[in-house]
Symmetry: C2
Subunit: 694 residues, 2 copies
């Protein structure tokens, strides 16, 4: 959207967006940016007091763009900028774009982490640059003091100036502010921008909820209020993760997580639904628990970032459907049984106060839409983050937990499903399984010649075959196998010939290795004998079966979506979630969790759901984007696809062929009865224990 070109006007190019346009000599750089749709924050309305609109001029000749840019092409620092520099400091190369005027061709750099707030520091989290268009805007104005000749109320005069200076039409006001307006307007703060006679300076926080609804004044402050924060939160069934973000600069101020206290009501999602069904106060108890944990976590990120929770004006939440419902106070019982009806699937906007979230009283809360009864707002967040619909290649997006949420598509078409992997990938239902925590085995290698293993343990720097491992590992102990290592150990067992293609541990190997030990009518692989007070760690035939079932469910779900898309290959794979972060893609492929794909195109993307929430927090266009996308996504209910059972049975074998698509007519090598039992068990567990996600 470039401004109309007048070929004699200076050409201004903004980086990194690359937007450009010609503007008459004397145009403030801020105005030029706004006309081009380049996001440059400003709170003070061009008074050169908030310092939010800083830019830099790039010097030099930019032949590609036909621009020679220099400091001579921008007006010299004026008295307002000099004042700002004296009071708050303005680095030499920086300019306030509200005061700096275009004099000639310019290349302007809009620093992506511009400004301010010396106390906050950039934290880990995503490196992605999210274009900002926050629903919250801080608007400093100078309101006329009352005049008996024009008996407009204080609020009404505030609205007038918010219209004339910032263009806000038809503003509504958060009701709790009404009794406070007069006092706020009449409070004089020291060290505030100089005021004309008969004026009061205040900053209004304005929230634009939805395109079609009225903008609201949600908070009001005496003088210049130069801070505004938001939180983006992923409510996982195990962990709640949160970012605290400056809505003005876009920077992540703090990120943290906390266990979901609902675990005490039930480890996995279905047991929580059961708890609600069994206990009259169960729903309320779990809603209260998760909200309290979130409020505590808000306190934690605020402490970490040196921010007051009163300065949080906007919140975005994602979560799987059951977390979504419990957080909103909705009974999730319907989600535990066919037809798995969501109470609400569309995006929701409420006052944070309405659901007891302790931030600014006027803060809003946005919840991403759910895709389907088992594909939640977290999957929508991951979809927004990874954007299969924004690109042409066929992208597979997998988020593995108690169930796997699977999205497959490109700009033409996106399909989604969930598949009941069960909790095996998380170490549950595995004889030596445990959560990823110090003491857990996280990496495994097996020597095909000797069948001897080596492994690494979380919290210990050495491999088990390195000198000093035993000494070092005393501090953590060696207590079990975590989810990522289960994948590895089964894959290594297969690669070393301990288990066959049909998943049977080869008992005949007991003859040449003491690691193969009988266990009833089957055999186990002894990974570690265990020291005094430590468990013996083995991989049993049942463990292998559980992994087979889980991987078959995941693979069958992926395969079903590939069939829907009519493709035999995916171009790129994204593993979202904690499981995805630790798993080695190579072993996932060896084991046949995922279809064949160039390994370089398989990436772990961490908490993509949380990143999606962050995007929706910082840019309301992303809210419309994911709302529209979710409407377009085709939802596949695996339970309704007769073909799914066949795909599931076919996917039991280890590994899937190098041609990763087992023929549908393929003869399964397991005795037929066992396969059917296994498949039946998987489905049953699917119905009972399905639908988790961390």
């Amino acid at each position: 959207m470039n401004a109309p070109l007048n070929p004699t006007d200076p050409l201004v190019l903004f980086m990194p967006s690359g937007k450009r346009g010609r503007f008459p000599v004397g145009t403030p750089v801020l105005d030029a940016a706004r006309q081009l749709g380049v996001y440059v924050e400003s709170v003070c309305g061009g008074r050169a007091t908030c310092g939010r609109c800083q830019i830099e001029v790039q010097q030099g000749s930019f032949a590609k763009h036909g621009i020679v840019s220099s400091n001579d092409h921008i007006s010299a620092r004026g008295p307002k900028e000099e004042r700002y520099d004296r009071v708050r400091g303005l680095p030499q190369q920086r300019r306030l774009s509200c005061s700096a005027l275009v004099l000639g061709d310019l290349v302007i750099d809009v620093p992506q982490d511009t400004v301010i707030n010396a106390q906050v520091v950039r934290k880990a989290a995503t490196d992605r640059v999210i274009e900002r268009n926050s629903p919250v805007q801080m608007c400093y104005v100078e309101v006329d003091q009352p005049d008996m000749h024009k008996p407009l109320g204080d609020l009404d005069r505030l609205k007038v100036v918010l219209d004339t200076e910032w263009g806000w039409k038809d503003l509504a006001v958060a009701p709790h502010l009404i009794p406070q307006i007069q006092k706020i307007l009449r409070t004089q703060l020291p060290d505030q921008p100089p005021l004309e006679d008969g004026k009061w300076g205040v900053t209004a926080a304005i929230h634009r909820d939805m395109e079609s609804a009225r903008p609201f004044i949600i908070a009001l402050y005496p003088g210049l209020k130069n801070e505004a924060y938001g939180i983006a939160c992923d409510i996982g069934s195990t962990t709640i993760a949160m970012h605290l973000v400056s809505l003005l600069s876009g920077r992540i101020v703090a990120s943290s997580g906390t266990p979901n206290p609902q675990i005490r009501f039930g480890e996995d999602l279905m047991s929580r639904v059961s708890y609600v069904m069994m206990n009259p106060d169960g729903r309320e108890a779990m809603t209260t628990a998760v909200r309290e944990a979130i409020n505590t976590l808000i306190g934690k990120v605020c402490d970490e970032g040196g921010v007051s929770r009163e300065d949080i004006f906007d919140c975005v939440f994602v979560g799987n459907p059951i977390m979504h419902h419990l957080f909103l106070g909705i009974d999730p019982t319907e989600l535990g049984q066919a037809p798995f009806a969501l109470a609400v699937s569309g995006a929701l906007q409420v006052w944070a106060h309405d659901i007891d979230i302790k931030v600014n009283r006027g803060a809003r809360l946005y919840m991403l839409p759910c895709i389907a009864g088992h594909v939640g707002a977290d999957a929508a967040g991951a979809t927004l983050s990874e954007g299969p619909y924004r690109q042409d290649r066929m992208m597979l997006l997998v988020d593995v937990g108690t169930n796997a949420e699977i999205v497959l598509g490109n700009s033409t078409r996106v399909v989604a499903a969930s598949s009941p992997t069960g909790p095996a990938f998380e170490g549950a239902e595995i004889s030596s399984g445990q959560r990823a925590a110090p003491g857990a085995i996280e990496r495994v290698r097996i020597d095909p010649a000797t069948l001897e293993p080596k492994y690494r343990v979380i919290g210990v720097d050495k491999w088990s075959d390195e000198d000093g491992f035993e000494d070092e590992s005393w501090k953590t102990g060696v207590t079990g196998i975590c989810g990522s290592a289960i994948i590895e150990v089964v894959a290594e067992m297969y690669l070393s010939g301990i288990i066959s293609e049909d998943g049977v541990i080869d008992g005949s190997l007991a003859a040449r290795s003491a690691r193969i030990i009988p266990n009833g009518r089957t055999f186990s692989y002894l990974l570690r004998e265990g020291r005094e007070g430590e468990p013996r760690i083995t991989v049993t035939q049942n463990d292998v079966r559980a992994i087979q079932l889980a991987k078959a469910a995941l693979y069958a779900g992926v395969k079903l979506l590939m069939e829907k898309q009519g493709v035999e290959k995916v171009d790129t794979i994204r593993f979202a979630g904690a499981f995805g972060s630790f798993i080695d893609p190579k072993y996932a492929m060896v084991l046949g969790l995922i279809p064949d794909c160039d390994l370089a195109e398989v990436k772990a993307v961490g908490n993509a759901a949380g990143t999606g929430a962050l995007m929706a927090l910082l840019n309301r266009d992303h809210r419309r984007e994911i709302e529209q996308t979710v409407k377009r996504i085709e939802k596949i209910e695996t339970a309704l696809e007769p073909h799914f059972q066949q795909l599931f049975v076919d996917a039991m074998a280890l590994p899937n062929k190098v041609d990763p698509f087992p023929k549908l007519a393929k003869v399964v090598k397991l005795p037929e009865r066992k396969v059917l039992e296994a498949a039946e068990g998987g489905r049953r567990r699917g119905r009972e224990g399905r639908r988790g996600r961390e």
Copy 2:
């Protein structure tokens, strides 16, 4: 707004609106009405189950309109109407307009009090027919049950059908409903409309707040919900008055009033403001008191009307600026001192729950705009009710309380002011004054020949000179003079020559009447000696002075507005409020409260503020109408008009000339010092005790 005419189509004329149009044979009468903008309620969406859309066909030849209307020109009763008749009864001449089809020319009568609810009866209150366009609409729909193939949430499917069947776009939902939606949809009621397979029948209450904002689902019921109520309330400083109204039929179900409990914090408005200034919790105590009284009053009208308070979905409130602020929880201190700044002057819309009004949890609350710091939402209500701006004649609208709110204008221009009449008209600051209550003298006549009075007492049927008065009046006592009688007694004293034009009681008359009695350096008129245990009732010189000051303030305010309008005469006068209802316009004119006007054009209109609230409740167009009107009204602040003092002094004399416009240069006959003292006192009392209204 007539439909496009096809000259061969039948012509349909709707009464009483007179709207007409041609429609193809077979058009349902309800559709014809809607296309013409004729308001016909319907809850069930044309299923012939709610019975709200009843109409009657007028038989005969309507030559003026060129229509011959007969029952042959409408389809015969079909099976749906027959069923409705069997189940709920449909009078023979009545038809359900959703089922009756246009076959030929028709004159259709839309009964203004159509329908239903046998338990409610029409109560007193206004006779006005208010065209209905309530912000609340009850919409029965049949929602698709969930389908795993289309995993839209329950709320989302509800929205879809509210769009397809009722045309609601972009609906939002009141947050408290979100956790309830699934249960409501799944509740099956007996005796409900027959449902298709796979459908759930529910009724959504939809609220359209503002043109530019999203419509909200504010309540949701299983099956057909065929009732919806609203309240219109005038918060007076003395009395809170309320109507309970069916939003579907428009009928007033109950009307009642209750004393404003804030009286215990201060009799008049300024003493309540003082209470707030003196007591840290004063504002909160008064806010709580008035809200509790309103909640109790809601219970009372609901009991009277046989209505549940849960069925109230909309509320409209008016009140003077201080009542308005205290009700909303706003500190009114600013209104007690120049520049009398309102915190909010524009109309307000909030959830009733937000300000603790106990009705349906999703009910909305609308507060009319205030005109100025002393001309409140009550004056706006009266203006909406009487509509000076809707007609061409010059209308004077006066609402007298502790202050007088004065509106003068016509369709071209409207001006408004308040004038500090003080509490004399209400009987305060009058030696024998009291509230209008049993025992109070309410009518007075004085024989000019004998100077003997006769009077009537509230609660006694006879005049004081009739046989049996003394016996009858024992039950009430004779305790004082109420506001309306104070006007009369002073006017009668003037007409009988007891007081002169300058307001002095003529002491020389003591020679011929024992009713004239000395009282220090002045004289009093003895109205009644008083029996054992009853007070002696006199009118003192100070009483006459107080009335003179009050009437001068009122008259000067009126005169000021007449000068602003450039008129020397008003065409019509409306007295609003309790005082206006009891005052005899003749005496008001004798005394010079109001300018000269044809007595037939002087009307008491009762609680016009409450009627305005009622109009805004029943028709949201009236909300926009008064919002726009208030913006147009020119506010005159008497305190800022140097000329006002002169008008005030000039208006002290009794009566104003028959030419009711005292020349500005007129020589006041009172000794100048006294006049100035009196005027000064009036102004002082104006600042201290001003601004009341009942």
